[in-house]
Symmetry: C2
Subunit: 122 residues, 2 copies
């Protein structure tokens, strides 16, 4: 929700294309979103709950995890499912729409790898 508001405020100062790019960068950017998305994408058949994510994604605090998950859910990239038989559990999973983001990043990955070589080798 916040993301959308932020970007609508920007509409006066930049064109549609630039705004769209910034939407993408906000959704993919940040410290953890890509890592979470990759983690969930590689474990579609497993039940992943909050604590499991917190434990297995190196160095991320519960606070940040919660925040990132909320933003990913707002953008329809993951689902949040609460169960409470005996013990409260909340499961997260990547959506079909979320999976559609992955191929989008392949060009970027390719460019990023070449770029690193270019910069390092001069």
């Amino acid at each position: 929700m916040k993301i959308i508001v932020d970007n609508i405020e920007r509409e006066t100062t930049c064109g549609e294309e630039l705004r769209a790019m910034r939407d993408c960068l906000e959704i993919l950017g940040g410290k953890w979103k890509l890592m979470i998305l990759r983690y969930l994408n590689n474990r579609q058949h497993q039940d992943i709950h909050f604590k499991k994510l917190e434990r297995e994604i190196d160095g991320m605090s519960a606070k940040m995890l919660s925040k990132q998950l909320k933003e990913l859910e707002t953008n329809l990239l993951i689902t949040r499912t609460v169960t409470d038989d005996n013990q409260l559990m909340v499961f997260y999973a990547i959506t079909e729409y979320g999976k559609s983001v992955t191929p989008l990043t392949e060009n970027l990955v390719e460019w990023g790898i070449k770029h690193r070589k270019k910069i390092i080798e001069g």
Copy 2:
């Protein structure tokens, strides 16, 4: 330079693909880089100096402009040319390599536009 060091430090915690994506996000991300790149890309035949950029890109301070330009130059996306006949002037221009970034972003623009519609319309 800073960017490269930052990313090399990350190598232990993430794979090559994730690192490449983060390289991209750092290079394209931030508040102003895309706008500067677009501005220079659309004015390849003109002489663009520092003050002109500061004046014409809405709301950006000299400090940020300087910082962004330095990072773009480090990444070989723009050139910096100093002249001093009578009055000091520094001209900036997009490189061929810099131009190669533009098509890279087209998928993102397309996705960003569709995504905005999807989120707003539900």
